[in-house]
């Protein structure tokens, strides 16, 4: 004794109402799965960490030296408005470069004329 289709459809309708799902008895492709997908734009866009304040930035902005003869230092007599602090990374890098130069291992001199390699022997200077 088989169940009539209308009864099955009524059951499906009731189920969909209870569980808040879409009622699609014929199984048509309506593209609802695209609507169900969650948007992942914000998650992808926040992959790279944003710029933060660095010591280098602070030194650049606030570590200026005021030239003599301006209004500010006529009273106080100081020529320095620097709020710069020590930059460990920059100091390390500078000492390393100086060490290399002392040893004679620094960067070679930059050539003024561009050198073009020819197919044959030797190099042609442009």
């Amino acid at each position: 004794m088989s169940v009539p289709r209308s009864r099955m459809l009524d059951l499906m309708k009731a189920q969909c109402q209870v569980f808040a799902t879409t009622y699609n008895p014929d199984g048509l492709r309506l593209g609802n799965k695209v609507l169900r997908q969650r948007l992942r734009g914000p998650a992808l866009a926040s992959y790279y960490p944003r710029k933060v304040a660095t010591v280098k930035m602070m030194n650049q902005m606030f570590g200026m030296k005021v030239p003599k003869g301006t209004e500010e230092n006529e009273e106080t007599g100081s020529s320095d408005r620097s709020l710069a602090t020590w930059d460990d990374a920059e100091e390390d890098r500078t000492t390393y470069v100086e060490e290399l130069k002392a040893r004679g291992k620094g960067n070679p001199k930059k050539k003024k004329e561009a050198v073009v390699k020819t197919k044959g022997f030797g190099k042609k200077k442009k």
Partner: protein
């Protein structure tokens, strides 16, 4: 493509031309994601007229490649390398090892069992 790129640099980690490009693609995708999803829905909806679906298909195809999510690739934030990048740390495998040995990564230690 340069009209998508921001005038001031956004990123604080490793900066390279390719990293900037990838970052720009991510931002552009975020802006256009809703539009893309709508077009994809129209294309896949068989109950809509065929003409509308074809138009949506054409429109989606003509969108800039910067709007496509498949063009986005996870890069290493320290070296900018694309190969061997772990999602948990956003770092390539060698940089991950260097940082782990330095003790910078919380909870990560040498395993032995």
């Amino acid at each position: 493509m340069s009209h998508w790129r921001k005038k001031t640099l956004d990123i604080g980690c490793f900066v390279g031309s390719r990293t900037v490009r990838d970052h720009t693609k991510r931002l552009v995708f975020e802006q256009h994601e809703a539009e893309r999803q709508a077009l994809r829905y129209v294309i896949r909806n068989t109950s809509l007229p065929a003409r509308a679906r074809a138009e949506a298909q054409l429109q989606l195809q003509q969108m800039s490649n910067y709007t496509r999510p498949t063009q986005i690739r996870n890069r290493c934030t320290i070296g900018g390398h694309t190969r061997g990048v772990f999602r948990d740390f956003k770092m390539s495998r060698f940089n991950f090892r260097m940082q782990a040995m330095a003790g910078v990564l919380p909870g990560v230690k040498r395993a032995s069992w």
